[in-house]
Symmetry: C2
Subunit: 158 residues, 2 copies
């Protein structure tokens, strides 16, 4: 029951991309966060496959958001990295053993699975309520308005 560390990297990258003017290469994103470039590239490819970022190839290529930061929720990023399968998986062990549940009952998920899925729905709803733009404003409130100014400067000159 633990989340991949790549989720944090991806969210941080989305916040950075929301403040960038043009495409940002994976090398620059990796240097900014102090993480492995090759491994971060894997996660960026997953974001690309999920349609959250667009990749431009070639000499001055890089990554950029496909929509505005307000339209990208944290849930979108988490699902792109961790996958859309629910964390809990009912293996239907109620059908095992000496007193198995009959086939008619098993057409709908069992009570245990229903409770687990309801909890995951609440989790997803909470993450869907926060957008990348909200995170960016939070960063400005925490570290000051000049943070992103310096970030844009570093992205341009670096």
């Amino acid at each position: 029951m633990k989340m991949s560390a790549g989720v944090e990297w991806a969210v941080h990258c989305c916040v950075v991309l929301s403040q960038a003017d043009g495409p940002v290469p994976a090398q620059r994103l990796a240097d900014f966060h102090g993480v492995s470039r090759t491994y971060l590239a894997k996660h960026l490819q997953q974001l690309s496959r999920a349609g959250l970022v667009r990749s431009t190839e070639g000499r001055v290529g890089g990554y950029a958001l496909t929509r505005s930061a307000e339209e990208i929720s944290v849930l979108d990023v988490v699902l792109a990295i961790e996958g859309r399968e629910p964390a809990f998986r009912c293996t239907e062990i109620r059908q095992n053993g000496p007193l198995p549940a009959t086939g008619e009952v098993c057409r709908r998920p069992c009570g245990i699975a229903r409770a687990m899925y309801a909890a995951e729905d609440a989790w997803r709803a909470s993450l869907a309520a926060v957008s990348v733009a909200d995170l960016a404003t939070g960063v400005e409130e925490d570290t000051g308005a000049q943070t992103f100014v310096r970030l844009r400067g570093w992205l341009a000159t670096g």
Copy 2:
């Protein structure tokens, strides 16, 4: 971001124990669910360490709930098996790179972590609202009132 399969086993066992009169051996629980006895024992030990079940050794030993089924929530079982650590772990990569966050800001968790923790709190609240007794009544509604009667019979004679 996936949950251990042992969680399902543990929850099923708690539902069975809520309907048992005396202590139930791990062998009986494993046979009833059609799973490995030795591996299930490991999870039952975790429940024992968490204080949810009590183990009695000896010739007629086994496991029994320490409190009433109404007082045991699904969240208690999940935390006993999966551990109490949150799924998301902030590795503080905001302190890396060329523009690191200064030490003063980092005393409180960053915005990303706050959003993740809020979502996990919602998840836990949803699981805490469901008790083992609720699951048992759900099983009776799904499979009929005679289900647990036959279960008690199998536990006694088996």
